[in-house]
């Protein structure tokens, strides 16, 4: 087990490295010089600036300078357009907290709600509740999160006034949560639906197994049998989607953050791409990749915990 974890960690580092390299090359290839909006800049000035920031060197050399800065000084470069002269790490560090806040809360409420919905659907299979929740599930999965966000903002915040229209930056504690309820909810609908539907499908299958029948004959009620025995077996494919869902929520929050004027990571990525501020784009890319890979690692590790039958990374049995 430890050997496997070490192997995976090494693989993670290598993957991040590869992503950084590919990202660097790709972003350098995208059209758009960083000094575009400056109409009055003379060509000499541009040449001097390019020399100052090493843009005139070949891509490989720039790459090595960049890697060395990160590994030795933890220097991700400075932003040149979005917040000139501000270190990229400072910018990113400012924006992470609120994004994580919204995303974690979203995940936290979507998991229990999703599981409850899924179990309810499986227990009362083919009944009115099942169809009703199924219908809602389909809607929530297909409709993108920003549609809900816009709708809720218009009706609940603007028309009824139950929540503030946008995120209140100066609030703390419960006032802060109050102004973030709508974005958290908007992001949670899709995960709830996904979890519910997967759990229902898996549970429905395992309910037909023989050990469930045995449990029933031994005297457990339908509910007890499902909850105590059925769920663990259904959790494996569920793990497959629960933790990557975190990545999906992070991605979905791009538009939701824009709608609710939340100064988080989502807007940062889009702004960076639009203003051709390469250092910031790369740094945000690495942030997202890092989260994505860690979640995948957690998922794979969790297989072993949840389902003892699976030997992780097991080779073809001889």
């Amino acid at each position: 087990m430890t050997k496997y974890i070490l192997q995976r960690l090494l693989a993670t580092v290598i993957t991040l490295f590869v992503i950084l390299t590919i990202g660097f090359i790709v972003i350098r290839l995208m059209p758009g010089s960083i000094f575009e909006g400056y109409d009055e800049m003379t060509p000499e000035m541009m040449a001097q600036l390019n020399a100052k920031y090493n843009f005139d060197k070949p891509v490989i050399v720039q790459y090595f300078i960049y890697m060395r800065n990160i590994l030795v000084h933890w220097d991700w470069g400075i932003s040149l357009k979005m917040n000139p002269n501000v270190p990229v790490w400072t910018i990113v560090r400012q924006k992470i907290p609120v994004t994580l806040y919204v995303n974690l809360y979203s995940l936290m409420i979507s998991l229990p709600l999703g599981m409850i919905a899924g179990i309810a659907m499986a227990l009362k299979k083919n009944s009115g509740i099942d169809y009703g929740i199924s219908f809602l599930v389909v809607i929530f999965i297909s409709v993108p999160s920003f549609v809900f966000a816009t709708g809720m903002q218009y009706f609940l915040a603007y028309k009824f006034g139950w929540f503030p229209i946008i995120y209140d930056v100066n609030a703390v504690g419960s006032a802060k949560l109050h102004s973030l309820v709508l974005p958290i909810l908007a992001l949670a609908f899709s995960p709830i639906a996904r979890v519910a539907r997967y759990l229902r499908a898996e549970l429905a299958e395992t309910i037909n197994s023989e050990y469930m029948l045995l449990a029933r004959t031994k005297g457990l009620t339908y509910t007890q049998a499902t909850l105590r025995h059925g769920i663990r077996n259904s959790l494996v494919p569920l793990m497959n989607i629960i933790i990557p869902m975190f990545t999906t929520i992070m991605g979905g929050s791009l538009v939701v953050e824009r709608i609710f004027a939340i100064p988080g990571m989502g807007g940062l990525m889009i702004n960076a791409i639009n203003t051709s501020d390469h250092q910031v784009t790369l740094a945000t890319l690495m942030f997202y990749s890092f989260i994505s890979i860690i979640t995948i690692l957690l998922v794979d590790l969790s297989y072993g915990i949840v389902d003892p039958r699976i030997r992780i990374g097991g080779k073809k049995a001889e």
Binding site: V138, A201, A317
Partner: protein, 380 residues
């Protein structure tokens, strides 16, 4: 009750006895019914499931409309006329019955009441309703509902209304449905094929092969959707093929991981070991023995992937990288309608209803298929 005794058998009345089979030979009776193969069995189960039947009918109806819809009226899909932009839907028959949705009514806010009597601005009979009168800065304002067709002197009737360039939405919607369905089906099929193969190989062999393959997927997954799609479109231009590619390039990863997880679950089963002992080659093991266990999740995933592909295509259209105009698709209509959602909600309503119906139908269809093809229910 009479109890028979040995003595009774000595004097039996043989006339009551009858010889049974002297000439005939005894065979097994022929089956009255034909043998039912796997697919037929599945179809039978499918038909019994009411919701999947309804779903298939709905899908069939949509396909029929997609093919014949644009021909049902004389408006072309790119007939522009700036005098009839953003017209609300109007179906005369329903309007006369008083159905609000199709009466061609358009609501206008913040109009001065003083102007309402002016027939130059508001032709005869065009004002349907006046409400929310109020005073702002001493001038009386109100909100009102006018019959768009009378207000703008438009003679033709548009069943689903028109868009921002005056093009008929009915025609555009069904033409768009064609394109969207094709794109969705092709991308989903490609997704599934690539995803299943990739996931099976990774899941079956495990070890180093699995490690490398999964790392590759992580690298691809790490780039956010918008970056990957932008790059793709920049390199390959836009056109149906490149949109399909852009949709496919990341979606198959989910399927692959799912299949890989399923493989981990099932490959340790005894029958696999047994088959291997018998010398069954790897390929047959993967595709014939282990994979069918996962048919359920594959089908479910595929079924929901079709509307998902349409939404992704809508996302592409939203950031301007979709099909080249003026060609419509459901995604393009959705993104165009979403921009005016608060003012002309019907422009997003009809594509949204179509997608929802497709969504639910494919979902139920998928459910039905999965139940039908479930080998554990054979003969049920």
């Amino acid at each position: 009750m009479k109890i028979f005794d040995k003595k009774d058998y000595e004097n039996l009345d043989t006339s009551k006895l009858r010889l049974v089979q002297m000439e005939e030979s005894i065979h097994d009776a022929k089956f009255e019914t034909k043998p039912v193969g796997f697919f037929k069995d599945a179809m039978l189960r499918f038909r019994k499931n009411k919701s999947s039947v309804v779903a298939s009918i709905l899908i069939a109806i949509i396909i029929v409309f997609a093919i014949f819809g644009p021909m049902m009226n004389d408006h072309g899909f790119n007939d522009q006329d700036l005098n009839r932009v953003n017209a609300p839907p109007k179906i005369n028959a329903l309007a006369n019955m008083g159905v609000d949705l199709f009466d061609g009514g358009m609501s206008m806010v913040n109009r001065r009441v003083a102007n309402l009597a002016d027939t130059e601005q508001y032709p005869e009979g065009s004002i349907l309703d006046v409400y929310n009168r109020r005073f702002i800065n001493g001038i009386e304002m109100c909100d009102l509902e006018v019959d768009y067709y009378l207000y703008n002197h438009v003679d033709d009737v548009y069943w689903f209304g028109t868009d921002y360039l005056g093009r008929d939405l009915w025609t555009r919607l069904w033409r768009g449905a064609r394109v969207s369905l094709v794109i969705a089906l092709v991308s989903v099929v490609v997704n599934v094929v690539i995803g299943v193969t990739y996931g099976s190989i990774a899941g079956y062999y495990g070890g180093k092969i699995d490690m490398v393959m999964m790392r590759i997927t992580e690298v691809i997954n790490a780039f956010p959707n918008i970056v990957v799609m932008t790059l793709f479109i920049m390199i390959f231009g836009t056109g149906i093929m490149s949109i399909i590619l852009a949709l496919v390039v990341r979606d198959w990863i989910g399927t692959a991981r799912l299949i890989r997880a399923q493989f981990y679950r099932f490959k340790e089963n005894e029958y696999v070991l047994a088959a291997r002992t018998l010398g069954v080659p790897d390929r047959t093991l993967i595709f014939r023995h282990i994979l069918p266990n996962s048919i359920g999740p594959i089908i479910t995933r595929t079924a929901l992937a079709v509307p998902g592909a349409i939404f992704s295509e809508s996302f592409l259209a939203y950031i301007g990288l979709g099909l080249k105009p003026p060609e419509p698709s459901i995604g393009i209509l959705l993104s165009e309608g979403q921009k005016v959602l608060l003012y002309y909600p019907t422009q997003v309503l009809f594509p949204a209803i179509l997608i929802s119906v497709l969504c639910i139908s494919f979902n139920m269809f998928g459910n039905g298929l999965r139940d039908a093809f479930d080998p554990t229910q054979r003969g049920a």
